[in-house]
Assembly symmetry: C2
Homo-oligomer: 354 residues x 2
Amino acid sequence: MKAIGVTRDGDEPELLEIERPEPADGEALVRTLRVGVDGTDHEVIAGAHGGYPEGEDYMILGHEAVGVVADPNGTGLEEGQVVVPTVRRKPDGETNEYFRRGEPDMAPDGEYFERGIVGAHGYMAEYFTSPADYLVPISEDLAEYGLFVEPISITEKANEHAFATREPFEWRPETACVLGNGSLGLLTLWMLGQQFDRTYCVGRRDRPDPTIDVIEELGATYVDSRQTSVDEIPEAHEAIDYMYEATGFAPHAIETVHALAPNGVGALLGIPEPWDFEVDGGSLHNELVLHNKCLVGTVNSHVKHFEYAIDTLEDMPEWLLDGLITTVAEPENVTPAFVDDDDQIKAVVEFDTL
Amino acid sequence: MKAIGVTRDGDEPELLEIERPEPADGEALVRTLRVGVDGTDHEVIAGAHGGYPEGEDYMILGHEAVGVVADPNGTGLEEGQVVVPTVRRKPDGETNEYFRRGEPDMAPDGEYFERGIVGAHGYMAEYFTSPADYLVPISEDLAEYGLFVEPISITEKANEHAFATREPFEWRPETACVLGNGSLGLLTLWMLGQQFDRTYCVGRRDRPDPTIDVIEELGATYVDSRQTSVDEIPEAHEAIDYMYEATGFAPHAIETVHALAPNGVGALLGIPEPWDFEVDGGSLHNELVLHNKCLVGTVNSHVKHFEYAIDTLEDMPEWLLDGLITTVAEPENVTPAFVDDDDQIKAVVEFDTL
């Protein structure tokens, strides 16, 4: 079968011809429909994550997938059922308390594989196998957009963790701000628009720009961080009750605290490299305490968040989902899907349709 | 009546002779038993908080108090009832949503007075008045230790806010660490000892030292931060599930994140001044995200936390409470109560006994 992967010697995605996988006990075989490309894939290609599957000279890419059950293999799934796979898997031959509890997203470094990212093949192939417990059913009508379930699930988890921090008191938030105008940022901006009175999205682009168009179509305010730094948002616009960071730009973690309104919370999702810089650590600390602020880091998601994400996806307008998909590539020519310029929002590799 | 206060021209606590206050509608008159001294009082004396009561040339000190209702004034309290006052009050002639909801601890800067700290007289006087809603009844048996209710309430709130952040998943913490070996730190160390398997307390003192004696009597491990910095605790001892910071030393806010175990939470309570220093902001951000960590700032407390604190105080051993009180001063000679050296843990000014 055809698969898109990276090899130890290569530095870009390649079309591989490999054997179709056989489902093991408890696994189903899935025929792939579509797989999304995101920033993590570009990092994998650049070699930032490493960790090829044991004994392999290549790793299949892709972790945002939707497919159709081809062989239920006695798992209780039905042939033809549309499913979305989760990402984290037990390391080979091991399990641990996080997987046993159904919360692999809470497993620490080294206690998980991530399909298409570290230690396990991804989904960018004509077929893939997965334990049935990690295949989340989705309606046929959403098959085309099912690749958005994984990124939306990341925000479902982030929101759950962030809002839980404000449970002990009567929190009445009005404003939310998303740092980052990639596809995850724009999906999140729509989600926050359902809950918050006023939303903002921070990027560093000139008009005309397709992401700024989406931001404005969503009724949000675009903030150009080259003109207004994140900690200046309260002065330039208003203080923000919920900050959602999806840039991986380390100063944003600090600036987020200063952009928050009293009693606000910031969710951090980016994963920067080590980077020393000077901060006013006293004011950061002081501001967190005197205004009951909170910073919560969150990574990955689990089955429950995928289920929430499917409900969310159902409510999202088609114009938004269609507008986010800027490239649909064939496996035989994936180059356009890995172009990462300002015209690209979400690229998709399409293996098949329903 | 006698009162201990600071004056605009003075730089140390003075014995003042002032008029006994008259309770307004909804207020009771309380005869003061004991008032504790803490770090905030020293900051008030040094002029760090400012904000004298309007039109006054002095401010009565003290916010950790216990007293007896002298005149219920039709509020429903009973004469002779032992009560502990909360600290935050509505600014003169104003109210706001936070007070209306019973959550004045969530009011932002400028939307509250704090008795004995900013804008309103404290409790270090023979009598004080207070709205009855802010007088929390406590058993007579605890009258002697009632001054500990306010600091314990601060930790009740911090723990509530910190543990709420871990509610979305199955958190199974084992270890807790208190940064700071003052009386608040030691009270908290006992509290955390009831919930966690292993506890640590960080200070910077040589043995013999009365606080290290208390730490060890509590079965906790003393960590000298001059030898083991906070971010080295995981290597020197073990990673910590719950970090509680009560030092106001700004680098501790950053180091706390590195001392945490995966999925851990740090509560920040200290209030440092602005202070620029270099941090590895990339690793800080990365560590928060990849290990689902959280930092939550918390200040003050409200009536519910005072009620929790009274339950907690009831369970605390007398040896601990007696051991923490290192000075009991008379209003006529308060100098020993404001000595702030390594032999002092909690100083008390005693106006009367039951």
